[in-house]
């Protein structure tokens, strides 16, 4: 669909770069000039409106805290969008607390990004006195609002937020999960207590290390020992509990996971220490034990850090409206999606999503299925024909009759596929190389222990127990666990600083094993059907018809592209149509003067962007259209780099118009498939996996949801990471797509780093093992070996991964 010829200069001139006039509200360049209040310029009417609201309420400090703090208001919010919140049933589900005069509600606001956002959201009471309090959690982007529900409805509150540019994201499905997602306090308590006990035990063990050569400390020895014992109780019985439960769960499933040998070592260390202390034969190894528990907990906390404002588990429900307008005998009522039944008649407005498979009753449907299929052009559907759930109505109002319940619709039935029932997190963990390694490690350890026992049984049976137990203590595979957790923790940090957010650490290993990448087309490699971005005045449907009438008679490539963008429309009666070569078009429809062409022709100051821009002037309203290139930024540079390491395929729901272009991009060997339904994509991935491939799926929409779920690693490419993304393993910030090859390289090297540090720790283990097998292990040596080996592992893993990240040109700091 590349209609735009690079060197066509008939209509549009490349606009010269002028001094940037930035929107006072959102900071976007003002393509259209003239939307001003005093000396302040705005990019669109929406931004101007927000400024006016804030100005009349004395809230202009908003602009002083940060320059251009606002969010672009170019897409107006429909005023009936939140009508469903008047339905008390639905509203109740959102309330956190309601009773007496006040109601408390919490919203997730994706747009929060700076000090000004926070300031404004915490001064909502200045905008409406019936909002008594509002407080923002900046980390989770959640605002908690207290309001008088008798004076102001929930709908009004949400609409107020939307008008000032902070539209909340409302989903009944998510509201329950958000709370569970909060950070794990129990883990932090455990960490704190383990740290406290470890420090104190270490301190009180010092006399023990030196007790060989001085007698003064001796009288205190038993005091120190019993204090240590006391301090170790919370470490063993509280802080270490998660290792016990994990090992036990593994054993129940006949799995020897990494926690099993660690628990064994902890048990033996603890019981031997208790025995030594109670019998007065020694000081035990409580310092080493609590140290190990502490460092392992640190590793886990580092590794399991979560991105609290990102959701990885959204399904189709998050995309669908919460409620729809149902036409009943008593008028129109708002009904939540779960209550929607077959035969219900539903009214849909422009831009609303069809909630379930239905038949068009009234109105002309122009349905955009890009969401569901990836097919980019809207489909025209006449009354009496079927529309499918997930499609978006574009244009006029539509009345439809539901024929299938929401959960049984064509799109939503994809979620009944068995791919959605498996637990990927668990599978990843069970198949992890760390667990495999630890299994062999355990076998080797047991045979060594048996050999030692046999040896001492023949020579000096009294040394069997001490040497075997010392050996099991020293050879605890905590080094392996530490190596893995610290490497993963640091990699997660580097990856997220460079725009790749993983659901959890187990994805890193999967990412390193990938050998085949499957791309989605629309929205991932290409930018969708709209080859234009529009700015300035938003055209109404009627004005779009006018514009269509005017440009459809022109042969210019830009006109043709605009026709394709507008879609097939009604042609109206036109008067005085005139094309001036090199300048533009002029025509009159119903006495409205319409001009299409360059900035000078239309009579505005030229654009600030270097992009090819087309101006439309209807009477005195100006709209600018600028072209979006075919591929996403950086895609042509990134794909060849990826091709060096991976085989690739492309799955598209679209037709194969762009096949030659894409084949050239991906290479001849790559498999390209078009007109793929969501279920086809899923099955294609399954086929590849059956052939032994480890597949990564890179997609963006709901139509990829099945494939993302089935693939070994499903990555969603998102322009805004806080926006809606289908369920996936990782989210990649589209703005940082150029770093993707380096990020993959880093993930591939994770395993080598783990193995390298593991080898180092095994060296320490051998020294320790040798000492304990010969029966010369003392608390002093154990006390030195443990922290030294732990520290070297921490240094090697974080150091190596950071160095590698730097070498690959990635940024190590949060930007």
């Amino acid at each position: 669909m590349l209609l735009v010829n690079e060197d066509s200069d008939l209509l549009v001139e490349e606009a010269p770069v002028k001094t940037d006039v930035l929107c006072y509200h959102c900071g976007a360049p003002c393509i259209v000039t003239g939307i001003n209040i005093e000396e302040k310029a705005f990019c669109c009417d929406g931004c101007k409106l927000v400024y006016e609201i804030l100005n009349t309420n004395g809230l202009c400090d908003y602009y002083k805290l940060q320059s251009h703090p606002g969010l672009s208001q170019i897409k107006p919010i429909r005023n009936y969008k939140y009508a469903y919140l008047d339905n008390e049933e639905i509203a109740k589900k959102l309330y956190k607390f309601t009773g007496g005069q006040y109601t408390i509600v919490t919203f997730y606001i994706p747009g929060v990004h700076c000090t000004s956002c926070m300031w404004l959201l915490e001064h909502l009471n200045k905008l409406d006195e019936n909002i008594t309090e509002s407080r923002l959690n900046f980390t989770t982007k959640e605002v908690t609002i207290h309001f008088r529900q008798e004076k102001i409805s929930l709908r009004k509150v949400v609409e107020l937020l939307a008008t000032i540019g902070y539209e909340p994201y409302i989903s009944l499905d998510d509201s329950g999960k958000v709370k569970a997602k909060g950070f794990d306090k129990a883990k932090i308590y455990k960490l704190g207590i383990a740290g406290f006990c470890f420090g104190n035990i270490m301190m009180m063990s010092f006399p023990e290390y030196l007790s060989h050569n001085s007698g003064i400390e001796h009288q205190y020895a038993s005091l120190f020992r019993y204090l240590n014992l006391l301090l170790s109780i919370p470490v063993f019985f509280y802080c270490a509990t998660e290792f016990f439960t994990s090992a036990w769960k593994g054993l129940q499933q006949k799995m020897l996971n990494i926690d099993a040998p660690i628990v064994l070592a902890l048990l033996i260390t603890y019981s031997r220490s208790i025995y030594e202390i109670l019998s007065g034969t020694g000081g035990g190894y409580l310092d080493s034990m609590s140290g190990i528990v502490f460092f392992m907990l640190v590793g886990r906390v580092v590794q399991e850090r979560t991105y609290r404002s990102i959701s990885f588990n959204r399904d189709y429900k998050s995309y669908f409206p919460i409620a729809v307008n149902v036409v009943t005998s008593s008028g129109i009522e708002s009904r939540s999606l779960e209550m929607l039944k077959e035969k219900d008649v539903v009214q849909l407005h422009n831009d609303e999503i069809i909630p379930a498979d239905a038949i068009v009753v009234k109105g002309n449907a122009r349905v955009d299925y890009s969401f569901v299929t990836g097919e980019s052009d809207p489909v025209v559907i006449k009354p009496g024909e079927t529309v499918y759930a997930g499609g978006r109505q574009v244009g006029e109002e539509l009345t439809i009759q539901i024929i299938k319940p929401v959960a049984g619709s064509y799109l939503t039935s994809l979620w009944n596929h068995y791919a959605f029932s498996k637990n990927k997190i668990k599978e990843n963990k069970d198949n992890s190389a760390v667990h495999l390694l630890s299994k062999y490690f355990t076998y080797v350890l047991f045979s060594l222990a048996a050999m030692t026992a046999v040896y001492w049984w023949m020579h000096d049976p009294s040394k069997i127990l001490p040497s075997v137990s010392a050996m099991l203590i020293v050879a605890c595979p905590c080094a392996l666990l530490l190596a893995a957790t610290y490497t993963n923790g640091n990699l997660l940090r580097i990856l997220s600083n460079n725009g790749l957010f993983l659901r959890d650490a187990s994805v890193i290993e999967q990412l390193g094993n990938i050998d085949h990448i499957v791309f989605d087309k629309t929205g991932t490699l290409t930018q969708g059907s709209n080859h234009f971005h529009s700015s300035g005045h938003q055209l109404s449907e009627q004005e779009k018809n006018w514009l269509y009438t005017v440009v459809s008679s022109s042969k210019h490539p830009y006109s043709k592209a605009l026709v394709a963008y507008l879609g097939k429309r009604e042609k109206l009666k036109v008067a005085g149509w005139k094309e001036t070569t090199g300048k533009g078009l002029e025509a009159y429809i119903d006495f409205n003067r319409i001009l299409v062409g360059s900035a000078a022709f239309v009579g505005v100051a030229p654009a600030v962007k270097e992009k090819a821009t087309l101006y439309v002037r209807i009477n005195d309203k100006i709209t600018a259209f600028f072209f979006i290139p075919e591929f996403r930024e950086n895609v042509p540079q990134v794909i060849p780099k990826i091709a060096q390491h991976y085989t690739m395929s492309l799955l598209s729901g679209d037709n194969d118009k762009q096949r030659p272009l894409l084949q050239e991009l991906l290479g001849i060997r790559s498999d390209l498939r078009f007109e793929q339904k969501p279920i086809d994509k899923l099955q294609y991935i399954e086929d590849l996996q059956r052939k032994g491939k480890k597949v990564m799926m890179l997609g963006d929409g709901l139509n990829d949801a099945g494939a993302l779920q089935q693939s070994n690693v499903g990555i969603t490419l998102a322009d805004d990471i806080n926006n809606f993304t289908p369920s996936c393993d990782a989210i990649l910030d589209a703005k940082k797509f150029e770093r993707f090859p380096s990020l993959l390289k880093l993930a591939r090297s994770a395993r080598s780093i783990v193995i390298l540090s593991f080898i180092v720790s095994v060296l320490y283990n051998f020294i320790g093992l040798y000492i304990s097998m010969t029966g010369r292990m003392s608390p002093m040596i154990a006390a030195i070996l443990m922290p030294v080996s732990t520290l070297s592992i921490v240094l090697i893993t974080t150091g190596a991964s950071s160095l590698l990240g730097k070498y690959l040109g990635l940024s190590l700091k949060n930007q």
Binding site: K64, L65, T115, F196, Q219, Y220, L227
Partner: protein, 58 residues
């Protein structure tokens, strides 16, 4: 030398107080929103135009 017993107990008591403070701070949600508090302190009072802009622009 019996002073040492007292000192040891005292030192553990002091350390335990800090542990208690840490647990209290986690419990009272002080780690829930680490960025927010640092921003909120900037606008407690009415804003004096110039200096604030300089601070936030850094």
């Amino acid at each position: 030398m019996s002073a040492l017993y007292l000192l040891i107990l005292a030192s553990i008591a002091v350390a335990a107080t800090f542990l208690g403070a840490f647990i209290w701070s986690v419990k009272s949600d002080q780690f829930e929103d680490q960025k927010g508090a640092s921003m909120r302190m900037l606008y407690d009072n009415e804003i004096i135009q110039d200096p604030i802009i300089e601070i936030t622009k850094e």
